[in-house]
């Protein structure tokens, strides 16, 4: 996998993981927060509501108190007579408003002595045994009774009691007021309309185990279901301040409750969980979209970073490749990008410069070696040639053969030096090919002519088959080098009086093949795989075969390859060496005269 893609993948994975982790966390936090907020909000509304209710109750109590003060005759320090008491009761407008279901006056022992609305059997009844009267006796202060369930209506009644006190603080009587909840509502008007919906609002009377209200209306008083049947009722009974409740039908609610201390009632608000957290869901959806956008941005930035990281690397690799392909090419790069890339560029430039220096050194070295070897060889070879030619006078026959031997080897040495230098130049890429189109016939004829004297010694004949007068596109001088090499190999390996055939033929519409065939023993099988390698010479079969340098075919192959050709061989009766070159190009049909001089 590309480094770039790996980096991008890592960045994407990392960002996706981070996003996911963040989103899970955030979602949970968001839900919790929302739940908390909703509960807080509801709780405070409920607190307001209960406050209003309690305030209302207190105001009723105060109205009753104001009646109580007017019942005492300040002159006698006792209650007014009954008639006057009834009159005062009738005149107290505020109290009448507050207690439309009746005002009562009791004596100090809680026996009813006056009422403004006649209810049979009430006057003369002693209520001292009732719980709220006992509470009054005990505390001596105004009280509001807990709801009393009406015997006939089955609806709760609220009884308010205020003691009538003398100046000395002695209880002279009791004023009472009654609110029948089936007729009069103690809840403030206009409770948030939302409460009417599937949000649930309950007021329950824990002590009496009654639903006081399912909504704010007080006309549906029912007994509470037994514990465990209605989770909301259970939550209210437990006086759960706020929390989550799951009902039997698997509905989740956010629940807040509030106690109306005076009445011992509990108000409960329950909001379906899904509705409570709906805004959180919406926020979360927004958050997800933003996250996705960020993830895409991060991925794109990652891609860009990865590209800008790897692009210089690819470029440098490309330069190194092209330098490896073409040894003469040296590219110095400008260091840019990150520090690591820059140091890579610098290192690579150093390498390139060093290679340049090494190349120069090698060229100089080859040049010097060439000179240093050839100078003594000039003297050596020259003097041997002169001796051999008899310039210095006749030599004894034994000395002559020794001189011939020395001369032969000196020639071989010369060829070796030439081939070594050639090969070095070739592989270091220092040879420039000047390719042109020309006909093969003249080049082949000239090569045959030049090798003629050597071949004639062994009675070897040449036979050129170039019926189609084919032309090639190549460097004539270099091609001549190849042909010379193949011809001299053929001569060396031919039997005495043998024939060397040179054949030209089209190898394909685009290529020309030249084959040099001898009548020798062919290339030994064990030698054939490495015949074109350096210093790969076959077993020295004949004396003539010894004179090779072992570089000829390696050079020939290199030269042919550089001219986009191919080279090879096969054995028939003898060895057949062939090479192929691109065909001569149409517009340059004319053979170059100089090209055959090489």
């Amino acid at each position: 996998m590309l480094l770039r893609n790996r980096i991008v993948l890592i960045i994407c994975l990392a960002s996706v993981l981070t996003m996911t982790a963040m989103m899970v966390t955030v979602y949970q936090l968001l839900l919790d927060d929302y739940e908390y907020l909703v509960a807080e909000h509801e709780s405070s509304s409920l607190a307001d509501l209960s406050h209003q209710v309690e305030q209302g109750l207190q105001q009723s109590l105060i109205a009753l108190e104001s009646v109580s003060w007017r019942l005492v005759d300040s002159n006698t320090g006792t209650l007014y007579p009954l008639k006057e008491l009834e009159a005062i009761m009738q005149q107290s407008r505020l109290a009448n408003d507050r207690f439309p279901d009746g005002l009562l006056i009791f004596d100090a022992d809680a026996t009813a002595i006056a009422e403004n609305i006649h209810v049979p059997g009430r006057l003369g009844t002693n209520y001292a045994d009732r719980a709220h009267f006992r509470r009054l006796f005990k505390s001596g202060k105004p009280i509001i009774s807990e709801p009393i369930i009406g015997r006939t209506t089955g609806l709760p009644l609220l009884s308010f009691l205020v003691p009538v006190l003398s100046d000395e603080g002695k209880r002279l009587g009791i004023v009472g007021g009654v609110i029948d909840l089936s007729k009069n509502n103690i809840l403030p008007e206009g409770i948030d309309e939302n409460w009417q919906d599937d949000n649930t609002f309950l007021i329950i009377d824990v002590n009496n185990r009654l639903f006081v209200s399912m909504q704010q209306k007080f006309d549906e008083v029912q007994p509470l279901p037994p514990p465990g049947q209605n989770a909301l009722v259970d939550a209210a009974s437990r006086n759960l301040h706020s929390g989550q409740v799951t009902t039997a039908d698997n509905q989740r609610y956010v629940v807040v409750t509030r106690e109306l201390a005076d009445l011992g009632w509990i108000m409960l608000r329950a909001i379906p969980y899904q509705r409570a957290i709906a805004p959180a869901r919406k926020s979360f959806a927004n958050f997800s979209i933003i996250s996705l956008f960020i993830a895409i941005t991060v991925a794109m930035i990652g891609w860009w970073v990865a590209c800008s990281l790897t692009r210089p690397l690819e470029y440098i690799a490309q330069r190194i490749d092209s330098m490896a392909d073409d040894p003469s090419e040296v590219s110095i790069l400008t260091a840019k990008g990150g520090p690591e890339i820059q140091s890579l560029t610098r290192a690579m430039n150093r390498l390139a410069k060093e290679r340049q220096a090494v190349d120069r050194l090698k060229d100089d070295f080859i040049s010097s070696v060439s000179h240093e070897l050839r100078t003594p060889m000039t003297s050596l070879h020259g003097s041997l040639k002169l001796l051999n030619a008899g310039v210095t006078g006749d030599l004894p026959s034994k000395a002559r053969s020794m001189i011939e031997l020395a001369l032969r080897n000196s020639e071989r040495l010369q060829l070796l030096v030439r081939d070594l230098l050639d090969f070095n130049k070739l592989i270091s890429g220092n040879i420039v090919f000047e390719r042109q189109s020309f006909a093969l016939s003249e080049l082949l004829q000239q090569a045959v002519n030049d090798i003629g004297p050597m071949a004639a010694e062994c009675g070897i004949r040449f036979d050129i088959h170039d019926d189609q007068h084919l032309g090639v596109w190549a460097d004539a001088q270099r091609l001549r080098q190849v042909v010379d090499n193949l011809l001299s190999n053929a001569v060396k390996h031919s039997p005495l009086g043998g024939e060397v055939r040179i054949t030209t033929e089209p190898a394909s519409p685009e290529r020309v093949r030249v084959t040099v065939s001898d009548q020798g023993s062919g290339v030994p099988d064990e030698f054939s795989p490495r015949i074109f390698e350096r210093f790969a010479q076959a077993d020295r079969g004949s004396k003539r075969a010894v004179t090779g340098t072992g570089l000829g075919l390696a050079i020939a192959r290199e030269l042919i390859m550089r001219m986009d050709g191919a080279i090879g061989f096969y054995n028939t009766e003898g060895a057949n060496f062939w090479f192929e070159l691109p065909k001569a190009r149409e517009r340059q049909q004319e053979p170059q005269e100089e090209s055959t001089l090489g």
Binding site: T375, S383, K385
Partner: protein, 129 residues
């Protein structure tokens, strides 16, 4: 057209000078004046009056091209005196450089002493053709 007869050869290697002397005088029948350095050549050239000058390229002190330059400055080379470099360095680039200096031809080392005189005659003839 006269015949090539007098050759001045500037060569620092005495062994090669000796071979050249045999090759040109004994084998080729030419008259040879050998000089060991460019300075010697500058001193001898006028009195010897060569038909052709052979210059070794690599010599200590004054090398072949410098000697050629000095000879020209001294006015010792007439336009009909061919100058031939003898060198072991036959890199195509160097050959081109020599030709740009106006030398008539370049003979590469090692040369064949048996054919050297004939080679010089051929150059002489081409030069005067």
């Amino acid at each position: 057209m006269t015949v090539l007869q007098r050759v001045l050869y500037v060569e620092d290697d005495p062994d090669i000078s000796e071979i050249a002397a045999l090759a040109l005088e004994a084998v080729g029948g030419l008259t040879l004046k050998g000089c060991e350095s460019g300075h010697e050549a500058l001193a001898e050239v006028d009195s010897f009056a060569p038909d052709l000058i052979l210059l070794d390229v690599m010599m200590p002190g004054m090398d072949g091209p410098e000697t050629l330059e000095a000879l020209r400055r001294q006015g010792s080379i007439s336009s009909d005196t061919p100058v031939v470099f003898v060198t072991a360095k036959v890199h195509p680039e160097e050959l081109r450089r020599y030709r740009e200096m106006g030398v008539t031809d370049v003979i590469s080392k090692p040369f064949d002493p048996m054919t050297l005189a004939n080679e010089l005659r051929a150059i002489w003839e081409r030069f005067h053709a």
